[in-house]
């Protein structure tokens, strides 16, 4: 019975992923026509100088890698919900990006107020959780503060209806896997979400909450990234473990990502412009013949 369950799990998997991690020196984004280009930031909304430094680095990086939008992994505004807080922690630091037409797609962290969903530049359209599509990539932005049965049913429906043709990317604040000492993994949340992610072929998951960068070895065929250091930082907080593929906890950082066909190129850059991680995740649409994610 158990073997049949495992077999069925393998047979139902439709995607295999392979990662080629590369040194920073030989890494380059392909900048393909029709590719989907974005940046990812998390735990950034302090309004302090390190956040501004990261934002400026994003502007510089955008010259070579013109990303079109940014996903935020929560804790967008730490300081409160007054208009001055929106200004200080968001509108001012990212002014140059906003003026250049870069769109932000936010999720809520535990330091955010739910009314941020009405702030137009966050593109949440009044919803705590939502989905949208860019090219051949389907994004699912979740509210991990409040994973009630209603939201769980919603994400299952959305993942099922999304089919298997597009990349499936989920992002939310609390990481399902993490080697951060301060928070660590949200195992309770993992119990609810991971079975759905596996069942419906989610490819990559981005989270924040732990104020470090970490790339996790694939778990059940899914790649996990934590980018929770785009403003806040817990220096030295990462306790690299067996699941850690790469970590960075000595300075702030942000990620840049390009989906080109079945490849996802990524690079994590520090606030001083140093590439601290990069690689390519290859996704192959499979028939129901199984296969295992590998590095």
């Amino acid at each position: 019975m158990r073997r049949r369950g495992v077999l069925s799990l393998v047979l139902s998997a439709v995607v295999t992923l392979g990662l080629l991690a590369r040194g920073a020196a030989d890494f380059a984004f392909p900048l393909q026509a029709n590719s989907v280009r974005l940046a990812a930031i998390g735990d950034m909304g302090t309004g302090e100088q390190p956040q501004i430094d990261v934002a400026q680095q994003m502007v510089k990086s955008r010259v070579a890698f013109p990303f079109e939008f940014v996903i935020t992994l929560g804790d967008n505004i730490y300081t409160g919900s007054q208009p001055s807080d929106f200004e200080k922690a968001f509108a001012v630091p990212y002014k140059l990006l906003l003026d250049a037409g870069v769109q932000f797609y936010a999720t809520l962290g535990n330091h955010d107020t739910t009314n941020e969903r009405f702030y137009k530049p966050f593109n949440m359209n009044g919803a705590n959780y939502y989905t949208y599509k860019k090219g051949h990539v389907r994004f699912f932005a979740l509210d991990s503060n409040y994973m009630d049965p209603k939201q769980t049913a919603w994400i299952e429906t959305q993942l099922r209806e999304a089919g298997n043709g597009d990349w499936k990317i989920c992002y939310f604040h609390h990481p399902l896997y993490s080697s951060g000492r301060f928070h660590g993994p949200a195992i309770d949340l993992r119990k609810v979400l991971e079975p759905l992610f596996v069942k419906y072929g989610v490819d990559v998951v981005f989270s924040g909450h732990d104020h470090v960068f970490e790339r996790i070895h694939p778990q059940k065929g899914i790649y996990y990234f934590i980018e929770g250091a785009s403003g806040s930082l817990r220096a030295g907080n990462l306790a690299p473990s067996a699941i850690t593929a790469k970590g960075f906890d000595t300075d702030r950082s942000f990620m840049m990502i390009e989906f080109a066909g079945d490849d996802m190129y990524f690079q994590t850059t520090s606030r001083t412009g140093v590439a601290v991680d990069s690689g390519v995740i290859h996704r192959t649409i499979r028939s129901a013949s199984g296969g295992v994610a590998h590095e």
Binding site: T79, G80, S81, Q82, P83, D85, F86, E87, N110, H111, T113, T114, N115, R117, F118, Y119, K120, P121, M124, N125, G126, S144, N145, Y146, M147, D148, P149, K150, T152, H174, F182, H183, G184, A186, I187, D188, L189, K191, V192, H209
Partner: protein, 203 residues
């Protein structure tokens, strides 16, 4: 004489044994009945709780309909203005709101049972861990019709806990501060009701 005393003694012992038997039987029967009665009581309490929440939401919707609708906006001051106006008008609409209006004593008991089931025992460690980091300050002052402070983080709620509680309409949400459970009005951030000592103490 001795025989008579022996018989009397045996008779008393028999009566005591019979009494103990009856008591034990009653107790055992009671043990079986108590959980089902508790479940029925909790279900009824949750039903009443949900009805009171709906009554609150009706008030909230009526009040909000008198304000300009809050739509996605580039101006955060519009969001703040709506939040503050809504809070003020809800307070005016329920000036005598007090703890227990929504969390009735029976509902509080039902939430205690549900919380205990979700958060106690060895498998609950993950739920506790999920809810602990970055949690709201447990010394925070919480009063009905007061505003949940926007500088405080919110405690992520365990999916297991949320699944054990009655679902809420989108206008309101559960929040946990220490062992206290509150219902909050999402848009105005007003504390709708507070129930203390609901979550089991961390072991």
């Amino acid at each position: 004489m001795r025989t008579k005393r022996w018989i009397r003694c045996r008779g008393v012992s028999g009566l005591v044994a019979l009494f103990l038997c009856v008591v034990a039987t009653r107790l055992l029967a009671g043990q079986g009945a108590a959980p089902s009665k508790e479940r029925a009581d909790d279900a009824a309490a949750f039903k009443e709780f949900s009805a009171r929440v709906l009554a609150y939401v009706k008030v909230q919707q009526t009040v909000e309909s008198s304000l300009p609708a809050l739509k996605p906006t580039d101006l955060p001051e519009m969001i703040t203005a709506h939040q503050q106006a809504l809070a003020r008008k809800i307070r005016e609409a329920r000036p005598r709101a007090k703890p227990g209006d929504i969390f009735t004593p029976a509902a509080r008991e039902a939430f205690r049972h549900a919380s205990r089931a979700a958060l106690e025992g060895p498998r609950s460690a993950n739920s506790r861990a999920y809810m602990k980091p970055g949690a709201a300050d447990s010394t925070m002052r919480l009063v009905v019709n007061g505003i949940y402070p926007d500088t405080e983080p919110i405690t992520a709620l365990s999916p297991a806990l949320l699944a054990a509680f009655p679902p809420l309409p989108v206008e309101v949400a559960y929040r946990v501060v220490g062992r206290t459970l509150i219902v909050i009005d999402v848009k105005s951030r007003l504390v709708v009701d507070v129930a203390r000592l609901i979550l089991p103490p961390a072991s």
